[in-house]
């Protein structure tokens, strides 16, 4: 079996390794495929579908699809951009995302994706669902208003921290992040040093009393759009 696999993304020749996902092979080649639930070091999940690409004409999640020889991948096309914009739009209206005072602003992957895709305001109506805030833990809090159900915290806690503090409950619109305790986060074994405490791409699981310590202008996405750190490595 060959140790490299050749395929194309938007016509560009890419070399991947056997077993590697399209998203990771693209990333190694300096091609950014937008993503939200993917996090390096955690098992792929395929939940958010933001990384959806066309593989030989069929939609696939790039974070779960492994590379194959001769694969023709369409990533950054008008059609896929419109598809992703719709997905991000829907994530915004399903939750209660108030970027203007959210402490994650400037460091938030959802917000950064919206900026990258030029979303100034959602086109769908807001749902204004009631969501719970859990401040019971001494060092970390959950604001479910901002949760996008990416499951990063679930995987980080289970697979990296070995604790299984978080999991999903409910289905459809009622799906939410629950904690492994009778009632509240403060009753779990979560520690502020856990991977799960820093895995959240949005402002849903946040370390307490950090707030706005990083000034505007020095935040992650203040100057360059999300993904540019990958694109800047392109040969």
């Amino acid at each position: 079996m060959s140790s490299t696999i050749e395929f194309t993304i938007n016509g560009k020749d890419i070399t991947g390794r056997p077993g590697q996902t399209v998203l990771e092979a693209a990333q190694d080649a300096g091609v950014y495929i937008p993503r939200l639930c993917y996090m390096r070091g955690l098992a792929a999940f395929g939940a958010c579908r933001v990384c959806t690409v066309l593989v030989n004409g069929r939609p696939q999640a790039a974070c779960t699809q492994t590379v194959a020889p001769g694969m023709v991948v369409e990533n950054n096309t008008e059609k896929m951009t419109a598809f992703r914009r719709n997905l991000i739009d829907m994530l915004f209206v399903e939750g209660n995302h108030f970027c203007m005072f959210c402490e994650k602003s400037g460091n938030c992957e959802l917000q950064a994706l919206a900026y990258r895709f030029g979303i100034a305001a959602p086109k769908y109506p807001y749902m204004f669902q009631p969501r719970e805030v859990d401040m019971s833990h001494g060092d970390v809090f959950i604001d479910r208003n901002r949760c996008v159900l990416c499951g990063r915290c679930v995987r980080a806690s289970r697979d990296v921290d070995g604790k299984h503090v978080f999991d999903f409950v409910g289905r459809g619109l009622h799906k939410r992040i629950a904690v492994n305790a009778e009632a509240l986060l403060g009753d779990t074994e979560l520690a502020v040093t856990d991977k799960a405490a820093e895995a959240c791409p949005v402002g849903a699981i946040v370390k307490k009393r950090v707030g706005y310590a990083v000034p505007v202008g020095q935040r992650l996405y203040d100057h360059k759009p999300i993904g540019s750190e990958i694109e800047s490595t392109a040969l």
Partner: protein, 491 residues
Amino acid sequence: MVANTNGFKRIAIEPVTRVEGHGKVTLLLDEQNRVHQARLHIVEFRGFERFILGRPFWEVPVLVQRLCGICPVSHHLAAAKAMDRIVGGEKLTPTAEKMRRLMHYGQFFQSHALHFFHLVSPDILFGGIEDPFAGFSADPALRNVIAVAAKFPELAVQGVMMRKYGQEVILRTAGKKIHGTGAIPGGINKNLTIAERDFLLKDVEQMIKWSHGALKIAKDYTVKHLTKLAPFGSFDSSHMSLIRADGAMDLYHGGLRAITADGKKIFDHVDYQKYTDYIAEEVRPWSYMKFPFIKSIGPENGWYRVGPLARLNTADFIDTPAAEAARKEFMAVTKGKPNNVSMAYHWARMIELLHSIEKIRELLNDKDLQGQDLVTRGQRREETVGLIEAPRGTLFHHYRVDKHDQVTMANLIVSTTNNNEPMNRAVQKVAQDHLSGKKEITEGLLNHIEVVIRAYDPCLSCATHALGQMPLVVELVDAAGNLVDRKTKGG
């Protein structure tokens, strides 16, 4: 107070123009157009005190500033001062306190410039040389900032550039020109770089020069027409503000001082953590805005004024030379006694404009702004009060925070709320003196009422008038409630 409003004609000025936010004035007139009641209503309801409940306390300084787009820094800093005490960090490092002060003076500068040039200048610049009221009734098509720009282009440019300069100061201290994040519990999140300092220093002398010019316009207008302006919407009242320990005007911090209309101290250097021992709020059924009063005097007569006029009256001195010289001239008019003239607010405001820019220059030359020590922490508390002098007057933020870091109680007394009763008195006075008994209530006469409201620079919240199209509807309704006359302008 009119017990039974039946049998009177009602005129509504809605909305009041060239103020921040939405308000309306209602007048009740009898058959001879004599005014029986005049009220300023604040028709907005914002709900901030409710929807910050349950939020993390460090979020509050960033969240509550959304109350306003004109002076958000005031809310940002009042809340930050409150939250300093929650983390036990109220003794700020020199860098943190000076950065906050710089942000605050930047805001005073831009807010006062905006008010004077954009909102007020049309009323006073188009007046006849001999008649201070002539501008109030000038053609409404001219009575706006666009007309000012056409007739006094140099002045209009100064207004725009001064506001811009203030916003540049805010940008470099808060991170954004509007709704930044600079002040955090116990300190600040950035210092001022040398490049930022030099950028601001570049224009500071020009700003000082222009501030002197604006002050001269306000002073000359007031002094020249003092005899006529003195009774215009004026009345005796108490005055209140924060004051520095040595009696100097201090816009950022101090103790509370209240004085009577003739200058006697009601209380002095009061620790504002105990403000509820001194100030209470009354609710009246016809307004969303509460009526604060000094407890020891009672709800009937305990109301007071805040803002530039009150601060000039309460201060023993100002600690910057040009503003202090201007203060002395201001106080000389009333022979050292408190000035109770509503229209003198403009003069007082321009003295503060000058003071702010002098303070900005002083701070920019202070090396503490390049310090690295930004945040302090200490003994945790659960209840806290943060006070600041906002451009429009004393601003109160009162919170309780539980052990889980969640806000459980919030009470805000904003500057304009403190001036609620005074503004109502002013409206009443102008209505009585200038409208009552007149055969025809003209648009120009109604603008007299708006003029006196503007003197107080109320922040009814975040809106300004549409340029040149001030939407004003006045309805004359007879005793039976039938519409007998309706006048509109703009809109």
